[in-house]
C-alpha cells in the first residue's frame, strides 16, 4: 500500500508575525507533515502584518524538506487583495486557490483547491483538474464517501479531506469581531488578534456552538476525523489536511502520522488528541454524512 501524506493547511487566525515564525520554525524542525500551506486566507487587512515573515518561513520549511504551498484569499474584494492573488499565482511553487478569482491567473499550472472552493462532484473536479488542479481539499460538509466518489471517478487528482481543526463554516463581507466590539470592518482595530483560535460563540443556553474569526465563522467543536487507513484507501484518498491551532500541532501531526502508518488505532489517536489543549470538543459528523457537530466515532 503506498504511503499516506499529511498536509498542514493555512493558519486561519490573525497570529502576530513572531508567532507565525515560531510556529513554522517548529513545524519545519519537528512535524511529520509532507506539505505546509503558508499565507493569509481569511482577511486581506491582515496581510501587511504577516507578509514580511513569509520569505524566511518558506525558506526554513523548504530547507527542512517540506513542500510549501502558497495559500490565497478566500474572499478577495479590494484591488490590493486581487493583486496579491495575481502575484502569488505567478510563483513557481504550488498555490492554493480559495476563490475563482485566482483560476485565470493560475490556469495551466499546478494548484491546490482549498475548502472554500465549491467542488461537489466529479465533473467539477475534472474541470479543475483540466486547469491544473493537482490536489482538491473539498468543502468540509462533504462526507468521505462523497469525496471517495470523486476520487474514484478522477484518479488523476488527489483528494485531501479536512481532518483536523475547527471547521471553516462560513465567510462574510461583515467582520464579526469588529461588530462585537462596536466597530466596522474598515476601522476594525484588529480585535481578532486577541483570539488565536477564534472567539467562542455559545447559544443563550450555554451550549458551545460556533467560533468567530473576523469575517470567518468556524465550528466551536474541533473536527477530528481519525479513520482507519484502509477506510481512506477504500475511498482512494491518500492525503489528509490538518488545520493549525494553538494546541501542540507537532503532536497532532505525530498522532495522525502514527494513525496513517498503522502504529495507532483510531481510538488511540482520538484519545491522544483529546489530551491536547483543544479549543473545543471533538466531532466528526461531516465525514460520516451526518450533521457536522455529531460525534460518530465516539458513539461507536
Amino acid at each position: 500500500m503506498p504511503p499516506f501524506a499529511l498536509t498542514l493547511g493555512p493558519v486561519f487566525f490573525h497570529w502576530p508575525a513572531e508567532r507565525l515564525a515560531d510556529f513554522y520554525r517548529r513545524i519545519a524542525d519537528e512535524a511529520p507533515v509532507d506539505r505546509v500551506h503558508v499565507g493569509e486566507v481569511v482577511c486581506g487587512k491582515r496581510m501587511p502584518f504577516s507578509d514580511p515573515c513569509w520569505p524566511d518561513v518558506i525558506e526554513r520549511l523548504e530547507r527542512a524538506g517540506k513542500e510549501v504551498v502558497l495559500s490565497t484569499l478566500a474572499a478577495p474584494a479590494t484591488v490590493r487583495e486581487r493583486r496579491s492573488i495575481d502575484e502569488l499565482c505567478g510563483d513557481g511553487r504550488l498555490v492554493e486557490i480559495n476563490d475563482m478569482t485566482a483560476l485565470p491567473a493560475r490556469s495551466g499550472r499546478p494548484f491546490v483547491t482549498g475548502p472554500f472552493l465549491n467542488v461537489y462532484n466529479e465533473v467539477a473536479a475534472a474541470f479543475l483538474a483540466g486547469h491544473g488542479a493537482r490536489t482538491i481539499c473539498p468543502p468540509v460538509e462533504l462526507s468521505l464517501t462523497a469525496i471517495g466518489g470523486m476520487a474514484h471517478a478522477r484518479p488523476q487528482v488527489e483528494f485531501e479531506p479536512f481532518a483536523f481543526g475547527r471547521l471553516p463554516l462560513a465567510i462574510s463581507g461583515r467582520c464579526y469581531h469588529a461588530r462585537l466590539h462596536g466597530l466596522h470592518k474598515d476601522s476594525c482595530q484588529f480585535t481578532c488578534e486577541k483570539d488565536a483560535d477564534g472567539l467562542a460563540v455559545d447559544t443563550l443556553d450555554g451550549q458551545a456552538f460556533l467560533a468567530i474569526n473576523g469575517v470567518q465563522t468556524l465550528s466551536n467543536q474541533v473536527h477530528a476525523f481519525c479513520p482507519e487507513p484502509s477506510a481512506l484507501a477504500a475511498q482512494a484518498v491518500r492525503r489528509l489536511r490538518l488545520s493549525p491551532h494553538t494546541c501542540d500541532m507537532v503532536e497532532v501531526a505525530g498522532i495522525y502520522r502514527a494513525l496513517l502508518d498503522g502504529r495507532l488505532e483510531p481510538q488511540e489517536a482520538r484519545h491522544g488528541l483529546s489530551r491536547l489543549d483543544l479549543p473545543g470538543t471533538m466531532v466528526d459528523g461531516y465525514a460520516h454524512a451526518r450533521p457536522g457537530w455529531h460525534s460518530v466515532a465516539a458513539a461507536g
Binding site: A105, Y120, L204
Partner: protein, 334 residues
C-alpha cells in the same frame, strides 16, 4: 459596455399562481425552480413540475415577461445527470435563462444549449471580482452575474466598469449575512445545507420549547433565540439568532432583519446594474404581487427621473412591519 435602456425587475415565483401574479403585477422577468433539490428553495409545496414550467413560460411570454430557471445547487457526486436533465427540461420548456452556480451545470448548458438559452451566474457561485466573473463569461458564455451581497453600491459601479456582462442585484426580501454558496452553518447544525439540499435552517429541525424563562426557538437542539413570555417568536434562522460571545449576548451576525434597498434604486441604475431582484420564492402570491407592484412603480419612477421623495412614497408600504437593512450596499454594514 452596453448600458441598459431600462432596469429589469426580476421577481420570485415559487408556484404557478405566484408566477402569474408576479407577471400581472409588472415583473419583467420571473425566476423559479423545479420541485426537487436542483434549486436553492427546495421547500415542500413549492416549485414547478416540467408541465407547470412549460405553461408558466407560455403565460409569461404571452405578457412579454421572461422566465429564468434556477438550477442553483451543487450536483451530488454520481448524480450530475439529474442536474443536467433539469437544465435540459428548462430549455425544452422555453426558459429564457438558466441561473446556475455549479461548473457541472454551467459546462453542460454551454456545450449543449448555447444560443437557445442564456446563462446567468447564480449568487451561489459567489463571483464578485472582475477576474472571477470574466472567467465564467469567457469559459461558459455567462451573460449575467447575480452579485454577491458583499459589495457596496460604489464597488458595484467599479465592478460594472471592469466587466462586460450584465449584473443583477438583490433589492428586497430575505438577506443572507454570509457569502452565499460559502456557508455550511445549516449542515453543521442540521445535516442539510443550501449547497447540497437547497435548504437553510430547515423547518423539520425547528422546535419551540417553553420553560420557566419563556420560550427557546431551537434548530436541531441549538438555541437560536429566546423570547420572554408573551414576546412574539421569530423563525430560528441560524445567522439571525442571538448568541453569547465575548461575555455578551447579541445578534452577533445579524439582527432578524430583511433587505430593503428600495432607496438605492437610482444608485443601482447609476452603477450600471441591469436587473433588480426581489427575493422570496417561498412567499405567497398576495405578498409577491404587492411587492412587485410597488417596485414596478418605483423602478418606473426612477427611469422617468423621479426624485427620492417620490420613490420613498411609492415604497412606503414595503418599509412597514419587520426591521430592514440596506445590507452591504452601504459600507458601514461591514
Amino acid at each position: 459596455m452596453m448600458w441598459p435602456q431600462r432596469m429589469e425587475l426580476v421577481c420570485p415565483a415559487g408556484t404557478p399562481a405566484t408566477l402569474r401574479a408576479a407577471v400581472q403585477a409588472g415583473a419583467d422577468a420571473v425566476y423559479c425552480g423545479f420541485r426537487d433539490d436542483t434549486n436553492a428553495r427546495n421547500f415542500p409545496g413549492l416549485n414547478f413540475s416540467v408541465p407547470e414550467l412549460a405553461e408558466g413560460v407560455r403565460f409569461a411570454h404571452g405578457l412579454g415577461a421572461k422566465v429564468l430557471v434556477a438550477i442553483n445547487t451543487f450536483a451530488r457526486v454520481g448524480e450530475v445527470d439529474r442536474w443536467r436533465r433539469a437544465a435540459d427540461a428548462a430549455v425544452e420548456c422555453g426558459a429564457d435563462a438558466i441561473i446556475a452556480c455549479d461548473v457541472a451545470v454551467l459546462d453542460h448548458v454551454a456545450r449543449n444549449h448555447s444560443g437557445r438559452v442564456r446563462l446567468h451566474l447564480s449568487v451561489q457561485a459567489a463571483a464578485g471580482t472582475p477576474e472571477a466573473i470574466g472567467f465564467y463569461a469567457r469559459t461558459f458564455g455567462v451573460r449575467r452575474v447575480v452579485i454577491p451581497r458583499v459589495l457596496s453600491v460604489q464597488e458595484i459601479a467599479a465592478l460594472n466598469r471592469a466587466i462586460d456582462v450584465e449584473t443583477e442585484a438583490f433589492v428586497f426580501g430575505g438577506l443572507c449575512v454570509m457569502i452565499e454558496g460559502r456557508c455550511y452553518l445549516s449542515s453543521y447544525a442540521t445535516g442539510r445545507s443550501p449547497n447540497l439540499n437547497g435548504v437553510c435552517s430547515p423547518p423539520e429541525e425547528v422546535s419551540y420549547d417553553e420553560d420557566a424563562d419563556g420560550m427557546a426557538a431551537r434548530l436541531s437542539g441549538f438555541t437560536i433565540d429566546r423570547y420572554r413570555p408573551g414576546e412574539p417568536a421569530g423563525y430560528p434562522t441560524l445567522c439571525k439568532g442571538r448568541f453569547a460571545a465575548g461575555g455578551k449576548a447579541s445578534y452577533l451576525f445579524e439582527e432578524p432583519v430583511s433587505l430593503n434597498a428600495g432607496s438605492l434604486i437610482a444608485g443601482f441604475k447609476a452603477a450600471g446594474v441591469t436587473a433588480l431582484k426581489i427575493e422570496g420564492r417561498q412567499r405567497g402570491k398576495g405578498y409577491v404581487a404587492e411587492v412587485v407592484r410597488a417596485f414596478r412603480s418605483a423602478v418606473d419612477a426612477v427611469e422617468a427621473g423621479g426624485d427620492a421623495v417620490e420613490i420613498d412614497r411609492l415604497l412606503a408600504a414595503q418599509s412597514e412591519g419587520g426591521r430592514q437593512t440596506a445590507g452591504a450596499y452601504r459600507k458601514t454594514w461591514r
